[in-house]
């Protein structure tokens, strides 16, 4: 008998189905009772998506995670992107400086790059000629959009669409600039999950602050293998 059939038969035996043998220990279990699943938890928050209250809560959570938050209008966004990439000492401490190169997904809004000086190297990661992991390791920063954000948990979700790119580009570079439109911000996790459920098969990365570890005496240290600096550009809509 194949391992598959064997395991499935053991499961059936454990659940009291006759004629399929026993579990490894020789047991045949009792049939479980029917289960009703209660769903009394909140499926939406009291604040509507994109409202000032949820944006404020998202900012609070992100700052708590030690992410850098920049609230900008569409007109200000290109300049702020350029500032963070080119002259980081003006925006953030020098130790967290983004450098002179940036990788962007192929479907990114080109306007966001409009204010970059010509000496900044922009790598456009296109499906036909993706950058290798080693090449990505040489790039200073990555700029992406996002799919949805959840304010209660301070979570931003990327789902690999053309304005966010494949997972590797937002992982290997040490600085991540992520643009979140305020109308993408929902309050509760169920609201976010139900948006994502439209395309559950897309590879998703849920990001709640920069990488961190609590493995040494449960002391939180921000910045391990993932991007050590996370800039969130909250774009007013």
């Amino acid at each position: 008998m194949s391992a598959r059939d064997d395991v499935l038969n053991r499961v059936r035996a454990a659940l009291g189905q006759p004629g399929v043998g026993t579990t490894a220990a020789g047991a045949v279990g009792a049939t479980p009772a029917d289960v009703q699943v209660p769903r009394e938890y909140r499926s939406a928050g009291e604040h509507s998506p994109g409202s000032a209250a949820v944006v404020e809560q998202l900012v609070d959570r992100l700052v708590d995670y030690k992410a850098h938050v920049h609230e900008v209008t569409a007109a200000e966004l290109p300049d702020r992107v350029a500032e963070l990439l080119v002259a980081p000492e003006q925006a953030v401490p020098e130790s967290e400086a983004a450098g002179g190169s940036v990788v962007v997904p192929s479907g990114l809004d080109e306007a966001w790059l409009g204010a970059l000086p010509s000496d900044v190297v922009v790598h456009r990661d296109v499906p036909d000629s993706p950058l290798s992991a080693l090449a990505l390791d040489e790039v200073d920063a990555v700029l992406t959009a996002a799919r949805v954000a959840c304010s209660e948990t301070g979570t931003i979700v990327l789902d690999g669409e053309r304005d966010q790119g494949r997972r590797a580009i937002s992982l290997v570079p040490d600085v991540h600039l992520c643009v979140v439109r305020t109308d993408q911000v929902v309050q509760t996790l169920p609201e976010a999950v139900r948006i994502l459920a439209d395309h559950p098969g897309r590879p998703q990365t849920w990001i709640s602050g920069p990488s961190a570890t609590s493995d040494i005496e449960l002391d939180r240290v921000e910045g391990v293998h993932g991007p050590r600096t996370l800039h969130v550009l909250l774009l007013a809509t």
Binding site: V11, T23, A24, A25, L189, V193, D215, I216, E217, V224
Partner: protein, 565 residues
């Protein structure tokens, strides 16, 4: 059952040492360069039985200090972030019911998961036991000509001893989670589900890195940030060049074939994204029925686990996505004793566990003895119910001579584990049930069992008021055995069986019945000095007097209302 507070017998693994000293064999703690570390033959059954192992670990002051500090920190964090969720109890109710539903529908859900993973370009393997799962992973690595695999922290691969198996096959498994790396470099075993190196403090970790990492900076300090940066530098090249990664899974979604891994450092994302081939080993119980069920479990897990509103990174993937991440994906579905647990009507809810480790952090026993005393990669309250059930087919819960049989006694039954469990596993009730079964199984054993004999004698004495009164008076003869603190720590046989593992309060000079009789006589004379009724605390006596005076039980000790019952 009235006997669940006693451990029927202390068992040792055959070949293991006697009591408090480390064995020289390979099966229990040996003195390594970083202190005593266990070297298990089996990841679910190593070292001495819990009572003996706990005695050893309790003697380690450093361990207790490290654990006390860490569990206090995490308890406070968890309480704070759970407290801010208004519908926490509703989420727990849903989480619990969904998991119950998963168990009831497991055959269908497994088939559904397999179908959806396959449809998205993944390959599904089934493993009856650890050996079979290990072979599958090794075969895949060999087929990819990889002599090195990078690993995401995973309890399932700990449970099957994958790293050791791969090493024997000439394949190096590199743990990339910081705590797992610490454990691996120290040639140690994990002592916590979430933070496997929780028993190590920063100074010890610095030593381990300096001696074992190879490329640790010479001036490395013990500041956690510096230690984390040393690990980052050490693992960076491995991530960028690895061909094969091995992971576990926090959740497998049946209706979409989506797998989820929840992590903090980004090592998980590295492993799940950069290599060409990904092998995920998942216990068959890790299923959830629908994608939207994630909205429940991804609220419950991070807050219970690390005490964060959300963990820094969660990765979700479904089969293979062209142009994004590994282009070859294997899912290994693991039984390894789970169906034995499922067959148990009471114990099967242990399979609801989402491995958050909240029960470890609140457990007064775990906090003091640490994870290694449990002799399993699953320590703490959940380990005490899961481990013996998982090993049922090879001894386990009712195996009279199995070291795991004592695990259900590694608890005070205080119930804190149940209160914090995000999926409401009633751990105390399962512990009591497993204890009862253990006692029942022992009943059939041949030979003179002092515990059984004592219980039988106690039953004879306690079933008759007259005999009970006599026994009580006889017991007062033991008053002199107590030290100045009124505690007997070394009683003569057969009571020595009890005092080997715990103290015994010395019996008072007089029994309650004697005191009561004297007191009743005094009560007839209001001037009498109650304090003369010696052997009892005076304030206690007054209170007793007030409540008992109206009831006036019969004067004769053997004929109280209690005794006639």
């Amino acid at each position: 059952m009235s006997t669940f507070l006693g451990i029927p017998g202390i068992r040792r693994r055959s070949g293991a040492s006697d009591g408090g000293t480390p064995a020289d064999g390979g099966s229990t703690a040996g003195e390594g360069p970083f202190g005593p570390v266990p070297h298990p033959d089996e990841p679910l059954r190593w070292g001495d039985a819990f009572p003996a192992a706990a005695k050893q670990t309790l003697a380690n002051d450093q361990l207790r200090a490290n654990l006390g500090h860490a569990t206090r920190t995490i308890r406070a964090k968890r309480a704070s972030v759970v407290g801010e969720v208004p519908d926490w109890e509703a989420l727990r109710d849903t989480g619990s019911a969904v998991k119950e539903q998963v168990m009831a529908d497991l055959p269908d859900l497994l088939a559904q998961l397999e179908e959806n993973v396959t449809a998205r370009g993944g390959v599904v393997h089934w493993a009856r036991d650890a050996a079979e799962a290990n072979r599958i992973v090794a075969d895949i690595a060999r087929a990819k000509e990889a002599d090195e695999v990078v690993k995401v922290k995973s309890m399932a691969t700990q449970e099957i001893g994958l790293n050791e198996y791969l090493a024997d096959e000439g394949i190096a498994a590199i743990e990339t989670d910081l705590a797992e790396l610490i454990v691996q470099l120290a040639d140690d075993m994990p002592s916590h589900i979430l933070v496997p190196a929780i028993h190590r403090n920063r100074a010890e970790i610095r030593e381990i890195f300096l001696q074992r990492m190879g490329d640790a900076p010479e001036d490395l300090s013990d500041v956690p940030r510096e230690l984390a940066m040393a690990a980052r530098a050490h693992l960076r090249r491995k991530f960028l060049s690895a061909k094969v990664a091995v992971s576990g899974a926090n959740f497998g979604v049946a209706d979409t074939g989506t797998l989820a891994v929840v992590e903090s450092e980004g090592n998980g994302r590295m492993c799940l994204t950069l290599p060409e081939t990904l092998v995920t080993v998942m216990g068959i119980e890790k299923l959830i029925p629908t994608y939207t069920d994630l909205e429940v479990f991804l609220q419950l897990l991070p807050r219970s686990s690390t005490g964060e509103r959300m963990n820094p990174y969660t990765s979700l993937w479904t089969g293979v996505t062209p142009g994004d991440g590994p282009q070859e994906f294997h899912l290994v579905l693991l039984d390894n004793g789970r169906t034995d647990v499922l067959a148990d009507e009471v114990g099967r809810s242990a399979l609801h566990c989402i491995r958050c480790s909240a029960c470890l952090n609140v457990c007064p026993v775990y906090e003091r003895v640490g994870g290694h005393a449990y002799g399993s990669v699953y320590p703490g309250p959940i380990g005490a119910i899961l481990t013996p059930q998982l090993t049922a087919s090879s001894g386990g819960v009712s195996g009279a001579d199995d070291v795991n049989a004592s695990l259900p006694y590694a608890s005070t039954l205080c119930g804190a584990c149940y209160d914090v469990c995000p999926v409401k596993i009633d751990i105390p009730s399962i512990l009591v049930d497993l204890r009862a079964r253990e006692v029942d199984a022992d009943r059939g054993r041949s030979g003179v069992d002092p515990w059984k004999a004592a219980m039988k004698a106690a039953s004879w004495v306690m079933s008759d008021g007259g005999r009970f009164g006599l026994a009580g008076r006889a017991a007062t003869l033991g008053h002199g055995l107590g030290g100045s603190d009124g505690v007997i720590s070394k009683a003569p046989p057969p009571a020595s069986a009890w005092t080997r593992s715990r103290d015994l309060p010395a019996p008072p000079k007089q029994t309650f019945r004697q005191w009561m009789a004297a007191h009743e006589r005094d009560a007839d004379h209001p001037d009498a000095n109650y304090r003369e009724a010696d052997g009892y605390d005076s304030s206690h006596s007054r209170a007793e007097t007030a409540t008992n005076r109206s009831r006036r039980p019969g004067g004769d000790e053997g004929e109280t209302t209690e005794g006639r019952r």
